[in-house]
């Protein structure tokens, strides 16, 4: 229905090229903290945006009104901004060809959250909270959250594209805080998939609650891992972060343009031969999965690094034209308030065939680093991120658990040093911030390499 309104407004455009998007995001959020119901929310945010191009210059307008007159006003705003800013722009935009699609897509799901029994979900969150707090006396605080983000998207362009998509994401998380003799430590675990409520059957919320509680309990009394360069096993949950933060961003064509690590490296060896890294717009459960991106380009599985060799960058229509390649479907917008920019979708390292024990066998003295925390990286590949737990490895055997520390290095050095890849592949939910935030998938198996641990040394 909104598509019709968009198409109608498009007819009133005087710009050379126009893209219009309607977005209605419905959110349900349940949160219990320390046994008390903290949030039971739902609602929607809806709006329309227009991106207009005049002689190679973009302008953008958005509104939370979906009345035709306000949408037309946003279109006029966008068009006049495009005209006015043209003289100041040194780089004028051209777009790679994409066949305008007419399509309708919905996330594959078994249990549609729109038919959810809210009371059932509330009790699920309540039970998880009770389990976490009951785990041990050390657990002093917790937060359990379950949320469903349900997006209705419509896209229409002056080229004739008309696309409707419904993308459903279900996310749960547990944060547990433990205290032991004045020592406070936190542990965090999450689930999240592009799917309906069946995600809760696959990995029950209570299960991640158990992991978080156990870890917080254990680490409250543990010392912090020391600093220095060590051979390590990066847990699958951390590998996704590495693939996304440190490597993936360097493949985003806008950053390549700015001189990222991968600039000029297509066809060159930039990682160990056993490493293949992809950004996949259609991973079945990835949080970043969509059939079309926010420019109407069909998404695809884009191989960034194949057997250690740089293969492809991630493109919008604009950068694809500049780099003379096909658009990869990586132009994404957080909501109707933003124009699409180049973003990853689901970024992961392909699976190998080692068991965890086999990965450990190759390490004389090192660590098994578990549980990712926030990470950051520069487009040079320099990265840092937090880890929750560092399990000592001595002569191939796992030993005591220490509190995790920040690890850092150059991602491509780390990838060159990968000498074994596990078979415990997982796809995880992530949020990525790059001017605007967005949902992404991050994945991979555990693997063996070397990193710098930045210990809070004594």
């Amino acid at each position: 229905m909104m598509l019709d309104t968009l198409v109608k407004c498009l007819e009133k455009s005087s710009a050379d090229h126009v893209e219009m998007r309607h977005h209605r995001r419905h959110t349900l959020r349940i949160s219990i903290r320390d046994g008390k119901m903290d949030e039971l929310n739902n609602g929607f945010v809806e709006g329309v945006c227009c991106r207009a191009m005049v002689k190679g210059s973009w302008g953008f307008g958005s509104t939370t009104s979906i009345e035709e007159k306000d949408v037309v006003k946003a279109l006029k705003d966008a068009t006049s901004l495009a005209k006015a800013s043209k003289p100041k722009k040194k780089r004028l935009v051209k777009l790679a060809e994409v066949k305008p699609a007419k399509d309708d897509y919905t996330t594959k799901m078994k249990r549609d959250p729109r038919k959810a029994d809210q009371e059932e979900l509330v009790s699920l969150v309540r039970d998880t909270d009770a389990n976490v707090r009951g785990f041990s006396k050390r657990i002093v605080s917790d937060t359990v959250v379950f949320a469903v983000i349900d997006d209705d998207l419509a896209f229409a362009s002056s080229e004739g594209a008309q696309i409707a998509q419904r993308i459903v994401r279900s996310i749960g998380s547990v944060m547990a805080i433990a205290r032991e003799q004045g020592n406070l430590t936190s542990a965090y675990e999450a689930i999240g998939e592009q799917s309906g409520l069946e995600v809760l059957e696959k990995t029950p919320l209570t299960q991640i609650g158990q992991i978080a509680a156990e870890r917080a309990h254990k680490l409250a009394a543990a010392p912090v891992a020391p600093g220095g360069m060590f051979p390590v096993i990066l847990e699958n949950k951390i590998v996704g972060l590495l693939a996304h933060e440190a490597v993936g961003h360097c493949a985003e064509a806008d950053l390549v343009y700015g001189g990222s690590f991968m600039a000029g490296k297509i066809g060159k060896k930039i990682a160990a031969e056993i490493v293949t890294l992809v950004d996949d717009g259609r991973h079945p459960i990835g949080l970043g999965t969509m059939k079309y991106d926010d420019e109407g380009t069909p998404t695809q599985k884009t191989v960034v690094i194949e057997n250690g060799v740089a293969k492809s960058f991630l493109h919008s229509r604009e950068t694809a034209h500049e780099f003379k390649v096909r658009a990869t479907g990586n132009a994404r917008a957080w909501n109707f308030e933003f124009d699409p920019i180049i973003r990853m979708r689901n970024t992961y390292i392909e699976t190998g065939d080692y068991t965890l024990e086999e990965l450990a066998e190759g390490i004389k003295e090192g660590y098994f680093l578990k549980g990712g925390l926030g990470g950051q990286a520069d487009f040079t590949g320099e990265f840092m991120f937090g880890t929750q737990e560092a399990v000592k490895i001595k002569n191939g055997r796992l030993g005591e658990s220490l509190r995790g520390v920040t690890i850092s290095g150059n991602a491509f050095e780390v990838l060159k040093n990968v000498d074994a890849i596990g078979k415990d592949f997982i796809m995880r939910a992530g949020m990525c911030g790059k001017e605007q935030i967005n949902y992404v998938g991050m994945g991979g198996p555990s693997l063996r390499t070397k990193v710098l641990l930045g210990g809070v040394g004594k």
């Binding site: 008390k36 119901m37 039971l40 991106r51 973009w58 800013s85 309540r126 920040t406 710098l452 040394g457």
Partner: protein, 447 residues
Amino acid sequence: MTLQASTQLAVKTCEKLGADEVEAYAQRTRTVEVVFERAEIQSERVKVQQGIGIRAVKNKGLGFAFSSDLSKQSVENTCRNALSLAKTAIPNPEWVSLPAAQKLPKPPTGTYDKKVAALSGNDILNLAMRAYDAAKQQDKRVEIDDGKFSAMIAEIAVSNSHGIDATQKSTNLGGYLVCVAKEKGEVSSMAFEYDISRSMKFSPEKIGKSVAEKAAASLRPKTTESFVGQIVLDSDTAASILLSPVLSSVNADNVQRRRSAWTEKLGEKVAVPQLNITDDGLLPNGIGSSTFDAEGVPHQKTSILAKGVLKGFLHNSFTANKAKRKSTGNATRENYNTLPLVFASNLVVEPGTKKLDQIISMVDKGIIVRRFSGNVRPESGEFSGIAKQASYIEKGEIKYPLKETMISGNAFQALMNIVAIGKKTRPTFMNSYVPPILIDRINIVSK
């Protein structure tokens, strides 16, 4: 419908539907922004946003519903939704009530500027270009990576069933640039500079000049050996490393849930005696200043640290009720579609007496950090990460820029190891006003 009419309608409707208590918060913003991407102006945006968030309470069950549609029908639907959620929610035994109406203070000066409100897309474009030109003029080797300049006018209204019924308008003007310097195939580390203001007192030239200087100064970096030494934190890094754990620790919600390291430290010495911190929601021209908070409670000035002693915590009405005291007016909402949390209004660190170069001259062996990319764990104070845009200091002089260097330590210990506090504060993120701060005994690990 005006914003206030929509919040008043929501209160009436929910009361009619049988809610015990109700609060409605509505917001309307208009933002004009210019975005730099890949070294050039990429896009200009005009964004108009509005919406309403309604909290309904029934038998201590709390429901919250929101909508971006302010029509009468939508507001009424949202009311029904909020009430139905309130009935589904597990009652919270700690719930006391929404805040009562109080006399509001005189509005702080300098929070609304007609000139900012009137800025057009073209005006913002000109501000952005002035910054861009200033950067290029400062140093030819500099290349802008990205940046954004924006002006926002915001209007909010809060009404509740205890007589709160208020509105306010505000303006914000902000901009930042990120750039690198390139020379003979070498690319410097990324430099960042920004300015933020409620009024036209805003200098794009300063942003451009400073970001270019920073980028160029970080060319040809060297490594240093690992050592334990002093670090000079500029306002931004002091805010992220030292102030973010402070803010988290004085948040009454964290205190009550024993997530704060300072849960039992009220009245105790937690920092050096030179350190004084207040939260001041009425600070003239303050980034976080306004007459009332996100629940309609008057803003005020609250002492947090005085002479290094922990004086108080920050409350919204929920945590205040729990502690049987008055709210400090620190309810904050990201937007109409989120519940009010506890946050600083303006977290002000009292400036010291020394200029930045005087502070640098005090350092025998250490580094200055202008960007920090790392983790700070607010519960424990542990921090570790990469010092970016850092330089090595020896015998009171900056010697050379550093390659990426790891720093780690504990923020709470660092508060006890503050050597000097700078003279000049500037607004940083978290609405905090922070001067440069020199701290001792930090691990500096070369890569």
